[in-house]
Amino acid sequence: MSAVTTSENFHKEKTQSELECQDLGYSYVKSRMIYEHISLKTYENELVAIVGPTGCGKSTLIRNLGYLTPPTTGKVFLDGKEVSKPSSKISLIHQSIATFPWMTALENVKLSLISKKIEPEEANRIASEMLELVGLKGFGDYYPKEMSGGMRQKIAIARALAASPEILLMDEPFVHLDELTATGMRKEVYDLVFNPETSLKSAVLVSHNLQEVVQLADRVYVMNGTPATIVEEVKIDIPRPRSQREPVFFNYVDRLYDHLSSSLKQ
C-alpha cells in the first residue's frame, strides 16, 4: 500500500509543475515577434536553464515568466494558477546587479519584506538570516558601494530569498563575476535553491555559459531561430556533485553546443 502511495506521490510530483508557461510570445513591435510558441515547465526541486544565442530573447522570456514584462501572447501559471501581475512568489535576480546605493545591505534585503507587512524586528531578523545564509554575516551595515561585485550580487540574492519565493528567476547572475567567485557563487546558489530552510521549490536560470548550465541544471531548454522557439529540451542526467573533468560532463556541453550551432547554421 505504501509502495503504491509513494509511486503516486512520485508521479504527482513529476506531473504537477511549479511554474509553467504556454505558447508565450513577445514582440516590441507588432510586426516582428522576438520569440513565439514557447512552452516550458519547471518541477519541484528542479533547476531549469534556458540557453540561446544573444538577442533571442532569453532575458525578456525570464521577465515574462515573472510577469515583470507581460507577454504579447500566451499564459504563465504558478501552482496551476494563472499569473497576471508581478509577485514576490517569483523573484528575479538581475544580470546587472541592482542594489540601492542609499540603503545598507540589511535595508536592501528588507525591501522585499515591506509588502508582507511584518513587524520591523521580525523583518530585521529575517533579513539578517538571509544575509548570513549568503555569507554576508556582519556586513548588514555596509553600503553596496563599499562592497565588491560578488558581495553585491549576494545582497540581491539574499533580498530575493527573503521574499520567500517559490520560484527564483536568475538572469545570468554570475556573468559579471570573476571565474573563481562565480564558481563559489554557483555552488552557494545551488545549495540555497535546494536548502530546506528556504521556501524555494524551483529555479530558472538564463545563461550563455554552457559549463555553468551543465553544472547547475536538471533540464535545459535551447532557444534558437528567428523568431526564436524552443528547439531542444535536454535532461542533464549526471549525479551530483558534478565534476567538470568527467567525460559525461563534456558530452553534455558538446551536445548543447551542437544544438546551438546547428540551429545557427540552419
Binding site: G66, S88, P101, M103, L111
Partner: protein, 545 residues
Amino acid sequence: MDITIIALATVATIGRILLLMLLSVLSGWALAYLAVKSRSFENAYVPLVNVMESIPVIAFLPVVLLIFIQGIGGALGVEVAVDFLVFDAVSWNIWIGAYQAFKTVPEHLLEVSENYSLSFGRRMLKLYIPHSIPRVISNLFSSFADAFFYITVSEVFTVGVNTYQTFGIGTLIALFTRQGDIINVYYSLACIAVGVIAVTMLLTTMSRHSVAKYSVDSTLEIIHRSPASRRFRAIDVFRSRTRYISRYARRITHPTRRGRFEGEAGAPTPIRHLLTVAAKSLTFCMGIVVLVYLVYSSLMIAFAVPGDTWRTFLTSTPYLLYSMGADYLRVLVVTAAAFGVAISIGYVLATHHRASLMLAPVVQAVSAFPAPAYFPLVFIATYPFFTATLPAAYSTEIYVFTLGFLSCFYYIFFDFWIGVQAIPTQFWEVMHNYELGWRSRMRRIILPGTFPYLVTGLSSTINSAWAGIEIGEFWPNIDGTHSLEVRDGMMKYIGVNMASGHVENAAWVSLIFAIVVAIYGIVFTRNLMDLARKKYVVEEGVYAA
C-alpha cells in the same frame, strides 16, 4: 492689429528665448566644470548663482540702464538689455542643473576618464556633457516657462520716465494692456499658447530621447533613427558622444585594444601638466581679483553712506528680519505645495507616457503663460467672491500664494518628472517584483533615486518663488481701482521704497537678503549636492562589473 504681427512677435520672442537658453547651456557647462574641479570656485559659484536666481528680473533694471542702455545705446543697446533680462530669467537654473549633473557623474565613469588622462575637451564631450543632458533638458522646460513668465517685464521696461522696448510678444501684450485692447491681449495669449505647446512638444520629445539615451538603463526605449527623427540632428550629435564613453569603457576591459588606446591618450605630458597648473593658477588669481574688487567697492559704498542713514538702517533691521521671516514662511508654503504637485502629478506623467503627451503641454502652458499679463483678469473675476467670503488679509495671501506658485512650481515639477524617468529599469522591476505600494516606492526608492533632481528643483523653486511673491505683495491698481498689498513682507518693503524713491532702504534689505540667500546656497544647495554625490547617485545602483 494684424494677427500676422502678433504671430511674428511670438516667433521673435520664442527665437530670442531659445537662443539665450542655448547660450545658458553652453556657459553653464563651462562654469559647472570649473565648479567641480575647483572647490574655491565652487564655494563662490553656488551661493552666487543662488543669490542671482533669487533676485527678481526687475531688480536688474538699474544695471541694465547703466551698462547697456547708456553704455551701448540705440536699438542695439535696448536689444542687448532685453537679452540680458531674458538671460537672467533662463540661465540660473540651467547653470545649477549643469553643476549638479557634473557633480553626480558616476564614480566609475570618472575613473575611466582619469585612467586614460582624457583632455578637458574629451572629458567634456564624452563624459560630463552627455551625463548632464537629461538634467539640462529638464531645466529647459523651466527656463522656457520662466522666460515667458517675465516676458512683459523683460521685453519692455521703464526706468524713470523712459520706456525701452524691443520687438516681441511681451512688448505687444504690454502695449495692448496699456491701451485696454483686451481682444488683442487674448490673441497674443492664444499665439503664446500655440508657441508654448509647439516648444513643449519639442522639449518633451528631446527629454524622452535624452533620458532613453543618456540615463543608465532607464525604462524608456531608445527611439531609433527614422526619417522623422533625423530632424533632431543635435540629439544625434549627443548620442554619438556616449558611444565614445562606451567605446573607452570597452577598451579598458579589452586587453588587445588597450595598448593602442594608451598610445592615443597617453600618460599626462609635461605640457598638459603645465597647462593644468596654469589654468588652476589663473582661476585662483581671477578669484582673488574679483574678491578684492568686491571688498573695495563695498567699502567705498559703505563710507559714502551718511551716518544718519546707517542709523536708520540699523533701527529698521529687526522689522526687516521679521518681514523676511514672513516671506520665508510664504516661500515655504509655496514650495511645499509645489513639491506636493510635483511628486503626485509628476509621478503620474513620468509613469504614463500617454498622459505625459497630453498633460505635459498643459503644465508647460500654465507655467509659461505670463502671469503678470493675465493675473489682473483672474483678480477681477475672483475678487468679489473672496471679499464676500474671506477677510481681506486672507484673500491677499491667497493671491500672493497663487502668484508665487505660478512663478516657480514648474522647476521642481519638471526636474522630478525627468528624474523619475531616469530611474533604471532594474529598480522598477524590483519595485514590481516585491509589490511595493506607492508610499513605499516613494519613500524608499523614488524620492531617494531622484534626490539630485529634487535638490536642483527645490533650490530653483525656492529661489524663484520670491519673484512671484514680489509681484503679489505690492501691486498698486491691479485692476484700476484696487491694490494688492500684504501687511508685512520684505518684498513689499522693497517695492514700496522703490516706488517712493528710497532706493537706499531697498538696497539695505536687499543686502541682508543676499547674505541670507548666500548662506542658504552653501548650507542647502552645496551640502545637499555633496550628500547626493556621496549617496544618491542612482546610476551607481546598477552594477555591471
